[in-house]
Symmetry: C2
Subunit: 431 residues, 2 copies
């Protein structure tokens, strides 16, 4: 599958992928939908204005591509998404001249990626974070409750989740300020208010919801997949010292709500379909409303990594190289996204287009399988070594955390998520 | 303070109040801003179109009153709100003819309340629920941990809160479906999926945020008050059986996210100012970022009650009378709303216009001081008697929960919130 747009063999954005995002340029600062192809962004507002979405569904929905977010397009649902994908794959295919040979439109519509500023792909009305990696929940459980009580009693029966803060979801590249917060430095003593000294990343993935459901209705596990517009990488930044003190009994709050970063490109289920794989078996079997028919418990084989680049790298200046500190994969996720959505809506909660549903920290077995520093350093008790000779228990100011994820086909072509990156800025001056 | 619009002496909506809401009528189904006065709604879109907001700030912001939510008006900030209040109090004052004597405009702009359908006052982007009544936290603590450990160690040091689900906030009058969910019927046995049998109300109040703060910045306790547009009654419906099983370790989720009801009229700080009262002393004194100067720890003296009306009353048909089951007051709230907002933003979390911040269940001392049935029935161990001879441990299908709140001036005039009501519908058929 080749395109007339040059695509590097290692590019995450081959013709099989075509992820959606929202971008702007210096020449046209209005955010608008685009699709990534190789090292370019294809401007969907320009294509749509030129009448190149001529299928039966999208020809009457041209305004969906003239928005500053993808929410309208997300709300259209699978048939419209499939039509868009077909149109785009045809326009970009090697040998197809409709766009390639229209120099004026091509110049306008095909923007070099380095000239594009990326924005949040959607207005995210609701952000829910789950806790669905068994390896992660087990590690955290052993750390705090010992091996015999590692998993809480409910964990194998339902996908545990909580509502996050949607307003502070930011797009990759946005720096993240180390938060101030209350921490308990010594048990039995009063807490202190100070910048977090245990700032962590959490390697997660998330889906963005397409069509939602009405309040009072629910999604079955079988129908939930059709409500997933696509997937992104998620860094659920976490302040462990704040979290430990605040989270009883209502869950994490200020330890999380200062920022959550997502990758700008939304990879669609159609692009990921070839990389489906069996999800882990579930024992005990879940209750019927969470059961997926035999052979239909599917994850995707997404190779994930987290790198730390010290010293403000990526912002220009220092070129300290990165160290990969985590290698993980979506494939071992215990509760699948459709199960999370079925559970989320089981009581009637309404999902809406653009909602973000994250998996929770994705840890795997193996030396580098820890999806966060809490696990990698075993609650701060041992250090992670970086290639510049320094070590980390938790993140330092100036560190850039870079998450990457991709699927690799047998021919080597990739369907990838690009990067989700963020640099840690020092805490604000004394409050 | 009298108006040429008739105002019953017991009305919550005297000329001192002028709460804002969003309404529509059969004749004009477009939702638009209005103000309650006596038994009427004054149409602000109509007034604005007629040029009656002629002050220096609002004359250039006429579009704020031509919206389907109050978010734009909320974002304008206190000076604009004060100008609007002055204009409205003048237009409605006894002796003022500009509106009274303009028969055509008056007919159009003054809508009988019973002809108005009320909508959510704002597009609520973020909903945060706190847990700030000491009486409530103490009761719940004694119930589950005994008298000696009633308050968790963090409770006196920070306003404990969690992120709620904004998409399922509904306006008073919207029926609420009993949720299905996972419950643990017997410890050590597998959970069951069933309609909640412990459906509860939580009597709360909340504020709607006016101007927000940028991500990475914070609000001081001193500045937070200027970011409060106004207050509403909140019923944080809760499924106790679902909550008990799901909430460890990340907090309540499906036990809350099926519905939260708010009253349609937003009562402003200016209307409430005469009813300020001292908030309870805080011992230990909080950390500096949460401290309010001596004499500036203020709540409002809002008399609150909850009534249960069995058998589908309010929806027409049965006229079973209500029973007041709770009498409480906002005045005993331990952490004030400005403290909650300072804490919420302490790590840099951004608030946005229209966000809802709720107090948590407002319980008081006294025989009827319990702000929810969990407390009133002491975890279901004793019944609440209703005037029709029936009793309740938790809510039954067909019950309507009615919350009311008002402040009373020395001359008997009221500044009130009206009602927040919702009827319990049976759970949906088997899922
Ligand atoms: Ca997380
Ligand atoms: Ca509550
Ligand atoms: Mg986060
Ligand atoms: Mg609720
Ligand atoms: Ni009438």
């Amino acid at each position: 599958m080749a395109s007339w747009v040059p695509v590097d063999p290692c590019s995450h954005f081959s013709l099989r992928n075509l992820p959606y995002g929202i971008f702007s340029t210096a020449a046209n600062p209005t955010p608008r939908p685009g699709v990534a192809i190789g090292a370019h962004v294809l401007d969907l507002a320009a294509l749509s204005s030129a009448g190149l979405f001529s299928g039966p569904l999208l020809s009457s929905q041209a305004q969906s591509f003239q928005q500053t977010t993808l929410n309208s397009f997300m709300a259209l649902g699978r048939p419209a998404w499939m039509e868009a994908r077909q149109s785009l794959q045809r326009l970009l295919a090697a040998g197809e001249g409709a766009l390639r040979d229209n120099a004026e439109l091509r110049e306008r519509a095909l923007v070099p990626m380095h000239d594009a500023a990326m924005h949040l792909p959607a207005a995210i009305g609701g952000y829910t974070d789950f806790y669905c990696s068994r390896e992660h929940a087990t590690n955290v459980g052993i750390m705090f409750r010992g091996k015999d009580n590692a998993l809480q009693p409910n964990w194998l029966h339902l996908p545990v989740g909580y509502h996050g803060r949607a307003s502070s979801v930011v797009v990759s590249g946005t720096p993240v300020r180390r938060p101030w917060g209350q921490v308990l430095r010594q048990a039995g003593h009063p807490p202190a208010f100070q910048p977090s000294s245990q700032l962590d990343f959490e390697l997660e993935m998330g889906c963005l919801v397409g069509p939602g459901n009405e309040l009072g209705s629910c999604l079955s596990v079988g129908s939930a997949a059709d409500h997933i517009f696509g997937y992104v990488l998620v860094n659920d930044w976490s302040a462990r010292d704040i979290q430990k003190w605040e989270y009883v009994p209502l869950g994490p709050f200020n330890s999380k709500n200062f920022a959550t970063s997502i990758s700008p490109w939304v990879v669609t289920p159609d692009a990921l379909a070839p990389f489906e794989c069996e999800a882990p078996p579930q024992d005990p079997p879940p209750l019927p409303y969470l059961q997926q028919p035999q052979g239909q418990r599917r994850n995707y084989d997404v190779r994930l990594e987290v790198a730390i680049q010290p010293g403000g790298g990526g912002g220009g200046g220092s070129d300290a190289s990165e160290t990969v500190v985590t290698r993980s994969n979506l494939r071992t996720l215990y509760w699948t996204l459709p199960q999370m959505m079925a559970h989320h809506t089981a009581g009637g909660c309404n999902l809406q287009p653009g909602d973000l549903i994250a998996t929770g920290t994705l840890s795997c077995e193996g030396a580098q399988g820890a999806g966060c520093l809490l696990e990698a350093t075993w609650n701060g008790s041992r250090a992670v070594q970086l290639s510049d000779g320094s070590e980390r228990h938790y993140l330092l100011d100036g560190d850039t955390v870079i998450m990457r994820g991709y699927c690799q086909a047998e021919d080597g072509q990739r369907v990838g998520f690009g990067e989700c990156r963020g640099m840690v800025l020092p805490a604000p001056a004394l409050r």
